[in-house]
């Protein structure tokens, strides 16, 4: 039921077109600079960076090739479906011949615009995403026909309302406890509702054949992703930042082409393993990052500092929905019937997820176990627990994770930051001290 007083824009303040255009222009040019600077820094840190990485550099530019491709496909009648978080079922979007793009923002400058609506205490990922929309900065967000917003945290819950000033919003209501008997049933209902919405928007029926093809496409992507991840388990043949960029571009690239390029990259890296051609010294402290998503491009702040620090660190694995969590789990299907496939999709998006929005009798045990397993597999020396101010769920779960890591004897550092470039000095001091500590432990 609608409220009694409806205004045209429920959240967004009136802004003159001239101001919007000016801000768009200045933030866009600053953002392109940040992208170029990040790529430059990644190249500098990895002397013999393989040529194939240039493909991912190109796709990482929000205002380049991929934007043109999506725009053209939209003109040709395809629907663009945005999503705010990786609970959104990509297989269903692909099966309806629509194009999925993630819309969370990693731009620092637009967080300041979000401040016009929300207090600064609110998570900057949310403030920045809203700010980006206020000045039409994100080409992908602009091109969307609808946006799937799973209500995982408080920030995203209200983000859905704010963005509804501009776009049709489709909520998904994930349960917070995985193992109650009714939760999977409820989540499956959510899936069926989303499926129907996707079909209505696109006018394409999701058939058994199309869904099977979509699941198989993503299974191939997972296979390529895991191949790359396996390469990060030994002495470093790829820097963490480069692997993170590869993984993150899967959120907006054509997934089939992405898979092919990742396999090409792996071909090259596997050769380097044999030739012992490492991207940094084999003794470099091995770091895991976990916590708030680190979104391209501005949130490369911390990864840049870790891998450029003296002593240097290499990020060998992350536990973030902006990285190693995106494609880690395939949809596992027993029988290729429609109902089995939908069951498998529902299970994969709920059960495999380690988001801190979950809890249980044993806490968010899947996340805890995920971290413990990866520490062993990737021979992690230390964990950087990364939280942006206002990211309440990750911040609150820290104390529990720290206890677990203390018991394992794995050092962990709580690095809290903001969507700002001004604290780089402070961040650097802390990261250097942490890596120095890890290095001293390796020396002993």
């Amino acid at each position: 039921m609608a409220s009694k007083i409806e205004t045209e824009k429920k959240y967004i303040p009136d802004m003159a077109q001239k101001e919007i255009d000016q801000l768009n222009k200045s933030i866009k040019s600053a953002s392109i600079k940040v992208i170029e600077d990040n790529i430059e820094r990644m190249k500098k840190s990895w002397k013999n960076r393989p040529k194939i990485m240039e493909y991912f550099d190109e796709i990482s530019n929000f205002f380049g090739r991929r934007k043109k491709e999506i725009r053209k496909q939209k003109k040709d009648g395809k629907k663009i479906i945005g999503y705010s978080c990786i609970f959104a079922p990509i297989e269903l979007i692909l099966a309806a011949e629509a194009i999925p793009v993630r819309i969370g923002s990693g731009w620092y400058d637009t967080a300041k615009l979000g401040d016009r609506i929300m207090p600064v205490e609110i998570c900057p990922v949310i403030r920045s995403t809203v700010g980006a929309k206020m000045v039409n900065l994100s080409p992908y967000l602009e091109l969307t026909d609808a946006i799937v917003i799973p209500l995982t945290c408080d920030g995203r819950t209200k983000l859905s309302e704010i963005l509804s000033d501009y776009k049709p919003i489709w909520h998904m209501n994930p349960p917070r406890v995985k193992d109650d008997p009714h939760t999977l049933k409820m989540w499956k209902e959510e899936m069926l509702l989303i499926k129907e919405k996707i079909e209505n928007l696109t006018g394409n029926k999701i058939t058994r054949k199309k869904l099977k093809a979509a699941i198989e496409t993503l299974q191939q992507a997972t296979k390529a992703f895991r191949r790359l991840q396996d390469l990060r388990k030994g002495p470093p043949v790829i820097n963490g930042r480069d692997a993170m960029l590869v993984n993150q571009t899967s959120l907006w690239d054509n997934i089939e082409r992405w898979t092919q390029k990742v396999n090409e990259l792996c071909d090259e890296l596997e050769k380097r393993v044999e030739q012992k051609q490492y991207s940094s010294f084999p003794e470099t402290p091995r770091v895991m990052v976990t916590g708030t998503p680190m979104l391209w491009p501005d949130s490369w702040k911390v990864p840049n500092l870790i891998e450029e620090s003296i002593p240097q660190g290499v990020i060998v694995v992350d536990e973030q929905c902006s990285g190693d969590r995106i494609l880690y789990d395939p949809v596992g299907v027993d029988e290729w019937t429609m109902s089995d496939m939908l069951d498998a999709i529902s299970e994969r998006y709920l059960m495999a997820c380690t988001c801190p929005c979950f809890t249980s009798e044993h806490g968010n045990e899947d996340r805890i176990n995920w971290i413990i397993d990866r520490i062993k597999e990737y021979k992690v020396d230390g964990v950087i627990y990364y939280v942006v101010r206002g990211c309440i769920l990750y911040a609150m779960e820290y104390a529990r994770i720290k206890k677990v890591l203390d018991n394992l004897g794995i050092p962990v550092y709580y690095l809290d930051t903001e969507y700002t470039r001004e604290d780089v000095g402070q961040m650097k001091t802390r990261i250097e001290a942490f890596l120095e500590m890890l290095e001293a432990r390796i020396d002993v």
């Binding site: 550092y413 001290a433 120095e436 500590m437």
Partner: protein, 266 residues
């Protein structure tokens, strides 16, 4: 034998207000000096180093290794290597007091606590976040609000019978709290104590995050403030060890690291 080689090394601590230099000869402090940072930190550091060398009757080429630390570490271009402030604190804490397990360093604008092992290797650390309310500058700002000399704040606070609570999450908020206490005509001594109690509340919560591991060593310029030290002891409920010249801890820690690195290169 590596240990028989005589090593002369220097540590340079580029603080936010002062640069401190310590020269060690076979792990003994043989010279110290300090300078205000001013507008040319590199020049200040060179001057401090020169003074220390003169007082030890040494020249630059006698130094086998120089290690720099501190917030302005990049400005000490002449140093051979660097060490983090927390790493230097841990070394120095154990150097001064071999049983040290926790080193608290309160400087002008930073407060930090470091957990260390018996060799002075840092095991964990906590830094105060984005605000000087737990550090020396806070005392300075509050002294201004009370119209007393900064160095008199400590003794003044000892005269208080109780403390009025103030908010120390931020220097600016604290200042407005202090102003309202002044308007309520609270005695200056009680306000002074409230200021130290507010600071040590922040510092002790940092220490608690590392776990309480005695012996606890306090270093940094603020360790000389009797008001701060009394309040911190009261809050932690245990003895705190303070070296004779606590503001040189960072420089001494860096010099110890320099000595180790010089030895390793031989």
């Amino acid at each position: 034998m590596r240990t028989n080689i005589m090593v002369i090394s220097a540590g340079v601590d580029m603080g936010t207000q002062r640069v401190k230099v310590a020269i060690l000869k076979d792990k003994k402090i043989i010279a110290k000096s300090q300078q205000f940072i001013g507008f040319d930190p590199t020049k200040a550091a060179e001057k401090a180093l020169k003074e220390a060398l003169e007082s030890a009757n040494l020249s630059r080429k006698d130094l086998q290794h120089i290690t720099a630390t501190g917030a302005g570490v990049n400005m000490a271009a002449f140093a051979d290597s660097t060490i983090s402030m927390m790493g230097a604190d841990a070394r120095a804490g154990v150097y001064f007091f071999p049983l040290a397990k926790t080193v608290i360093d309160i400087g002008a604008e930073d407060a930090r606590a470091v957990k260390c092992d018996e060799k002075g290797i840092m095991l964990d650390f906590v830094v105060n976040a984005r605000c000087a309310a737990g550090a020396g500058t806070f005392i300075e700002a509050m002294a201004r609000a009370l119209e007393v000399e900064m160095n008199d704040m400590g003794l003044l606070s000892l005269k208080a019978e109780r403390a009025s609570p103030i908010n120390a999450s931020c220097v600016i908020f604290a200042e407005s709290d202090v102003v309202s206490l002044i308007h309520r005509e609270e005695p200056k001594s009680e306000i002074a104590r409230a200021i130290f109690d507010a600071m040590t509340e922040r510092v002790s919560s940092m220490v608690h995050r590392l776990g309480i591991n005695p012996d606890i060593v306090l270093v940094g310029g603020v360790a000389k403030d009797i008001g701060f030290v009394t309040s911190l002891k009261r809050r932690l409920g245990m003895e705190i060890l303070i070296p004779e010249e606590p503001m040189f801890a960072g420089a001494v820690g860096a010099a110890l690291v320099a000595a180790k690195r010089a030895r390793r290169r031989k």
